[in-house]
Symmetry: C2
Subunit: 130 residues, 2 copies
Amino acid sequence: MTEAPLRTTRQRRAVAAVMEDLDGFASAREIHDALRDRGESVGLSTVYRNLQALADAEEVDQLRSDDGEVLYRRCVTDHHHHHLVCRECGRTVEVQGPALERWVEQVGSENGFRQMSHTLEIFGTCDRCR
Amino acid sequence: MTEAPLRTTRQRRAVAAVMEDLDGFASAREIHDALRDRGESVGLSTVYRNLQALADAEEVDQLRSDDGEVLYRRCVTDHHHHHLVCRECGRTVEVQGPALERWVEQVGSENGFRQMSHTLEIFGTCDRCR
DNA sequence: CTCTCTGCAAAACATTTGCAGTCGG
DNA sequence: CCGACTGCAAATGTTTTGCAGAGAG
């Protein structure tokens, strides 16, 4: 009952392939468009379903853009980390933050909070973009 | 042309009043419901428009919940700060993070990024909620 | 009076779901 | 073959917008 079947369909392979090549984050619609451009027609709902599956399998990261869309990105590292994103070109660097994790724990305990968790996104302009 | 008129209407006052009393974050729908409960009937679009106006005037904070709604909260401090939110009761503590700001700058410069900005939300379970 | 604000209904969006047909194993 | 997967259309839920009428200054 912990096991999921997960068949290998053309559509599943196509979505996974796009995520492989993807540099930075992309919305479901952008991924859907990228598939069409490659000549691999996949229904939008199927894109959503497969992205959801990949996210459940922790093979992609999910985050919300400021205007409310969900963005997806293939994750390189397994461990907890954050993304440093260039606001011009979208280039992404994954950063570990032991100092941050410690700070969060400290702020929590100063205020009587336990079982801390957090979400952080960092934006900046990268060197290539001036 | 930098000046906005901003009339004092019953609806504007009602929305502002609800935000005054609000403890923690609330969605537009919750605020709309709260207005109805107070006997102050205000159209939903008007609630959205006034919340937007308050956010533009930096009198309320805006953030996205995990399921994509925008949440609003009256802001106590003027300066940049973050929210420590109890995941049980929604109680909110505003925290300053000089250490965090420094860490963000450092991570940025290590990777050649400038003009850093960031968004952070911290969650935990507060002492009152065990 | 004038011009902004409001309310309603309709539109715009991203995302999800129901269902019948398709196809992997 | 069987059941998971797909595609389409319709449904959902949130936020935005067009427009005619109301009301602040």
